[in-house]
């Protein structure tokens, strides 16, 4: 009977892609993340929800060491990607970020042509042998990001000349082009209209076949729509982590319930 249940969306994989243990993050003296333990599954969409300043974006940025760029930021604890500690001194953050891609809240295309925006990653990481192969990667990435039909006749035009929603999809195409194993998305749809949002959500579902996707979103409905696992953060703590259907119909923690039902906590 269980396979007839729509709410418990199947998670094909049970392999753990990212494993975090006792993660602490400090910004100077501010303790932003407290003792977070979480296992993110492969080929699964995991949503992080929580009020502003709860630490969800901070935690997301730990996964590809984006916090390294902030001087006063200090990360403690272990984050393992396929069992390897990503904070090990031997790990090159640039190589790590090719495996763990990221899409930000505001579109930030390079001041280059649409084609070069997408081709940049595959080129610097040496993922393609020749121009024909690169053309293919660019087209496939743009198609995945539901942008190909709109830009195929003006690939040489500057990426910054596109509309906001198109720019965001260009950034998604850019992130997808290097075939990352994990894709981190920090509010990827906050600048998009409902149609473009639906296209990105469809894309996220398709990406799940190959990658592990972690998405931070302020739209609870979006988390409910796209994810199989949901984590609720509050004041730097991971309050609850579970199957998305369970979180949205019968959360275990009263703080989760207050947040998702829109109550004063």
């Amino acid at each position: 009977m269980n396979d007839m249940r729509l709410t418990e969306r199947t998670v094909d994989a049970t392999d753990i892609k990212i494993s975090a243990r006792k993660v602490q993050v400090f910004y100077g003296t501010t303790h932003a993340i407290k003792d977070v333990d979480v296992d993110i599954l492969d080929k699964t969409v995991t949503a992080f929800i929580g009020p502003s300043g709860c630490g969800k974006s901070t935690f997301l940025r730990c996964i590809n060491r984006m916090n390294d760029t902030i001087d006063i930021c200090r990360v403690e604890g272990d984050i393992l990607l396929d069992g390897e500690d990503i904070y090990n001194k031997k790990v090159d953050p640039v190589q790590l970020r090719a495996r763990v891609g990221m899409v930000f809240q505001k579109p930030n295309p390079f001041p280059k042509s649409i084609y070069d925006n997408v081709a940049y990653g595959p080129k610097i990481h040496g993922l393609v042998k020749n121009k024909a192969e690169l053309d293919e990667v660019v087209e496939s990435a743009l198609r995945k990001a539901a942008l190909w039909n709109e830009v195929k006749d003006r690939l040489d035009a500057p990426g910054t000349g596109l509309s906001g929603g198109q720019q965001q999809r260009l950034c998604i195409a850019r992130a997808v082009a290097t075939s990352p194993e994990v894709l981190l998305m920090d509010e990827p749809c906050s600048a998009l209209d409902p149609i473009a949002t639906a296209q990105v959500e469809e894309l996220i579902d398709e990406l799940r076949e190959n990658f592990s996707v972690v998405i931070v979103t302020h739209s609870m409905q979006q988390a409910a729509r796209v994810s199989q696992r949901t984590a609720f953060f509050h004041l730097g703590n991971l309050v609850e982590f579970g199957e998305t259907g369970q979180i949205f119909t019968n959360p275990r923690d009263p703080r989760t319930e207050s947040y998702i039902t829109g109550r004063i906590g």
Binding site: Q221, F248, T249, N250, P251, T256, R263
Partner: protein, 236 residues
């Protein structure tokens, strides 16, 4: 549970729940009045019960459309979602209890013209009062979010089943004694069966309350005493 940040959400939720409580009260009085009309052989009261069923149906429709609106406009989650889901089901159960009351009133109007079956209407009235008590407690458990009271309602259905079984045997005996008793006894038996079904519907409401409060349907099988026993009265 504290209030929503958007206070109009609270008002919508309260409005739909108030409708359920109102419907519950109306259906309770329908059950009692139907039983009263039967005992007093009061055709007028029976007619009033039949007419009032329309109000019950209208309330159900109102609750359904309010709950549908709530789901469409508010996208409720967690306990709010469970409110929207349970009011649908509770309203549907109440509507059917209302229908059974109406059917009792209809049969009462037929029975009035026939010889009385001694003692039976008192037993039916006691059964109806027991069911009305279950219904009241089921609605109270909904108002107070009281899973314990809901479990108690669920456990009490076995008493209704036992009362029904006793009446079943009694009617059978009457019918065997005198074939002229068959028509009124058949009507009375359907009335008893209607009340027994009302008990099941009250149990279903109580189960919805359990789901509303705990997020899970009660798992353990509910106590039952409605196994159809092959009852063969002795000849002569």
């Amino acid at each position: 549970m504290s209030q929503h940040i958007v206070s109009s959400f609270d008002r919508d939720l309260e409005a739909v729940q108030a409708m359920v409580v109102k419907m519950g009260g109306l259906v309770e009085s329908q059950v009692l009045d139907a039983a009263q009309a039967l005992e007093d052989r009061d055709e007028e009261l029976a007619e009033a019960v039949r007419k009032r069923d329309k109000q019950v149906d209208e309330l159900e429709e109102m609750i359904n459309s309010e709950a549908a609106r709530l789901i469409a406009l508010r996208a409720p989650t967690a306990s709010d979602l469970r409110i929207a889901l349970t009011v649908f089901k509770i309203a549907s159960n109440l509507e059917r209890v209302g229908d059974y009351s109406k059917n009792i009133a209809k049969r009462t109007q037929v029975i009035v013209a026939m010889p009385a079956i001694s003692g039976s209407s008192g037993a039916i009235r006691r059964m109806a009062m027991a069911v009305e008590g279950m219904l009241k407690d089921a609605i109270d458990s909904f108002i107070q979010r009281d899973a314990k009271l809901a479990a108690d309602v669920r456990a009490r259905d076995v008493e209704i089943d036992q009362m029904y079984n006793a009446l079943f045997r009694e009617f059978l005996t009457y019918m065997m004694e005198d074939p002229r008793n068959i028509t009124p006894c058949m009507h009375l038996h359907f009335i008893a069966k209607n009340i027994e079904r009302m008990g099941d519907l009250c149990t279903s409401i109580a189960e919805q309350v359990t789901y509303l409060v705990t997020g899970e349907m009660p798992e353990e099988p509910r106590p039952k005493s409605d196994s159809v026993t092959p009852f063969t009265p002795q000849e002569g």
